[in-house]
């Protein structure tokens, strides 16, 4: 039981971080970033090379991963998404563009980093025992860094000027423009932060999981599930969605034969969305 709660908490925190990046980009630009998982994977590779291979300090490597992905995010927004959003007659166009970029990143990674699975030595070692359950120190570290990042992001969005501009942009594009906000700049910033969050998640998780060039798609699918549960484009929804999925997985794997867990999660998701299409926290669509 306590193992289940520990598993659920750690997974939920990690998932919340992943879902936040995705939902941020969605709220600002109305784009589902299919390449989110691939960005996660790239962040992991940055940490692998800097920390695992070149033995740099882990936290420096993590910051480098965030910066690298932020740059990629800006490039994506500036050269790809901005133009397509302007030209598109249908929103499917941005969706397909996002799928294209996901495929591109995955293949670039396959050529440059090879096909092998990568992992790094643990940053901290040891295992804590809490009420009969085990919590390895590496997971505890990931949990607290993720918690710190999530709180940091919430404060940023809530209290800083660019953060407020982002929230405004998510609500009403034209009104935001009329208030003298440079829409392009804020969109690029939003994309950069979203991508950096994915990179940070990858950089964090490579210490306890491992990655390879193809591991992005599974992460994307999970991230979609989370933001559908919580409500797309809503920050609180992303966090909630992350925790709901984290606990579902932890409970499911503990009590059900493994393979049925995700089947039940998907069926439950479809039933849930029939009742509440906008997710738990989302605004009704229209």
């Amino acid at each position: 039981m306590s193992q289940m709660i520990i598993n659920g908490m750690v997974l939920g925190m990690i998932y919340a971080l992943i879902a936040l990046g995705l939902t941020l980009i969605f709220s600002i630009m109305n784009v589902v970033n299919f390449a989110h998982g691939q960005m996660y994977m790239l962040g992991g590779f940055v940490v692998y090379y800097l920390y695992g291979v070149y033995q740099l300090n882990y936290f420096l490597a993590l910051i480098a991963a965030a910066l690298a992905l932020a740059v990629i995010g800006i490039i994506f927004e500036k050269f790809f998404f901005r133009r397509v959003i302007r030209l598109a007659k249908r929103e499917e166009n941005t969706m397909l563009l996002a799928m294209g970029t996901a495929l591109l990143l995955e293949n670039l990674a396959l050529f440059s980093f090879g096909e092998k699975q990568r992992g790094v030595p643990p940053v901290v070692t040891g295992v804590y025992e809490i009420g009969g359950g085990y919590l390895p120190a590496g997971r505890a570290l990931v949990f607290f860094v993720a918690l710190f990042l999530v709180i940091g992001l919430l404060l940023f969005v809530q209290y800083t000027r660019p953060g407020r501009a982002m929230r405004a942009l998510a609500q009403d594009k034209e009104a935001t423009y009329l208030q003298g906000v440079d829409i392009n700049q804020i969109s690029a910033l939003g994309f950069a932060i979203g991508a950096a969050l994915a990179g940070l998640a990858g950089g964090l998780l490579i210490t306890i999981f491992a990655i390879n060039a193809g591991s992005g798609t599974a992460v994307s699918t999970k991230a979609f599930t989370m933001i559908m549960i919580g409500g797309a484009g809503v920050v609180s929804g992303a966090i909630l969605g992350g925790f709901v999925l984290g606990f579902c997985e932890a409970i499911g794997y503990e009590t059900l034969p493994g393979s049925t867990t995700y089947l039940i999660i998907f069926i439950a998701l479809i039933l849930f969305l029939i009742v509440r299409p906008q997710g738990i926290m989302g605004r009704p669509q229209g």
Partner: protein, 403 residues
């Protein structure tokens, strides 16, 4: 604008039609020197990319080595080795069209791959119709049993390794209870079922065998929690991909598991060390002729060449190096006729008995599998059971497939 659009459209159309003509009138120029063409079909992109890529790198490295010697000799004539490689993306539709391309367009008779049950089963009708032979890396028994006779299993199937490993552990390490965990996919599930059967026969106490995880899972903590709770003497990771093994081991150890862990598939030491670190100590797996202390000089040369081709060594290659070598031995035995007629190749299969060139110690290399398939349709790769000691694979014992 309209004119521009029209001309652009015509240009695209023109290129497309040109391309089609090119495709359909595709005829390779006849090479001057004698050439033995080998095909390779396998998954070389996506999460399982390493399975097919290792096949490809092995062929490439071995072919370079043969060609530098002037080629391989069949009936007194030297043949250079050329190979064509196709990515099936683990999609049966692409495997079929890829195989059709190899056998009809490239006119290749000997193909290495594919790598999983779904693709291997889909190409069977193609190779049978075309009269070709393929060396597959899928474990389904039906592929190699009559009425089929054109597929050869290129490695040791887990259901063959399982009983040998469990027996050894029961006798030498006092294992009495066993649990299984498998990826939720055709191959691993089949391997688990065979493993459970073998354990039952040995009289081991099966504590759990229904736990599975989804392909693409990265967090094995939840699923492992459940397996570890049963506290078996041995946890078998059925059909585990090299990528997942270290994560599963790490999760088990971090959850306080003290018993043994083993798998029946080939693993990669680098990733085990990188990800699982000290937790990997004592992990038991099956390897090819790859552990340094048993390598022949020829194998050492091959390892060096493989590193040049692929960038770094992969222990999976220790098993996969056998495919091309066995095709060549069999062709040499069967003679020139087999280059165009696989029936001659099939006739020569039972007669192939050579010294295993990859091992230091003297061992016979031949086709096996009669006990399982009713006909010799498996390469007799030595079953080298490894244990991780001090971050390296060390050979626990060398077994062989019962024939």
């Amino acid at each position: 604008m309209r004119d521009f659009r029209r001309s652009l459209f015509l240009a695209v159309l023109g290129i497309f039609l040109g391309a089609i003509t090119l495709l359909f009138s595709f005829e390779k120029a006849v090479a001057q020197e004698k050439v033995l063409k080998i095909g390779q079909l396998g998954v070389m992109s996506g999460p399982a990319a390493s399975w097919g890529l290792v096949n490809k790198y092995c062929i490439q490295a071995a072919a370079e080595m043969f060609n530098e010697e002037g080629g391989v000799e069949i009936d007194g004539e030297k043949y250079k080795i050329e190979f064509v490689s196709i990515d099936d993306k683990m999609d049966p539709k692409l495997a079929v069209s890829g195989m059709e391309r190899l056998v009809y367009q490239e006119k290749i008779k000997y193909i290495i791959g594919p790598n999983v049950d779904t693709t291997a089963a889909s190409v069977v009708p193609v190779i049978e119709a075309a009269g070709a032979i393929n060396i597959a890396y899928a474990f389904s028994k039906a592929l190699y049993s009559p009425p089929h006779s054109n597929s050869i299993l290129g490695m040791i199937a887990s259901y063959q390794a399982g009983p040998v490993i469990y027996k050894y552990l029961k006798e030498n390490k006092g294992v009495k209870s066993i649990s299984f965990i498998a990826r939720n996919d055709s191959d691993p599930l089949n391997q688990r079922d065979e493993g459970v059967e073998a354990a039952k026969k040995l009289g081991l106490n099966i504590i759990s065998s229904t736990d599975t995880y989804e392909p693409g899972t990265t967090d094995f903590f939840p699923v492992m929690s459940k397996v570890v709770k049963g506290n078996p003497d041995l946890i078998v990771l059925s059909g585990v991909a090299p990528a997942d093994a270290p994560l599963l081991i790490k999760a088990a150890r971090e959850l306080g598991y003290k018993g043994l862990l083993s798998t029946e598939t080939a693993q990669d030491i680098k990733i085990l060390n990188e990800v699982a670190g000290k937790y990997a100590e004592g992990f038991i797996s099956v390897g090819g002729a790859s552990t340094p202390e048993i390598q022949s000089d020829y194998m050492k040369k091959f390892v060096e060449r493989y590193k040049k081709v692929a960038g770094e060594w992969n222990d999976e290659a220790g098993t996969k190096v056998y495919a091309l070598q066995m095709i060549i031995y069999t062709l040499q035995k069967a003679g020139k006729a087999a280059l165009t007629d696989v029936e001659a190749f099939k006739k020569a299969i039972p007669e192939v008995k050579v010294r295993n060139p990859f091992l230091k110690e003297e061992r016979i290399l031949k086709y096996v599998g009669t006990a399982y398939f009713g006909q010799p349709r498996q390469i007799g790769v030595p079953m080298i059971v490894n244990e991780v000691r001090n971050g390296k694979f060390e050979t626990l014992f060398i077994g062989s497939v019962e024939d």
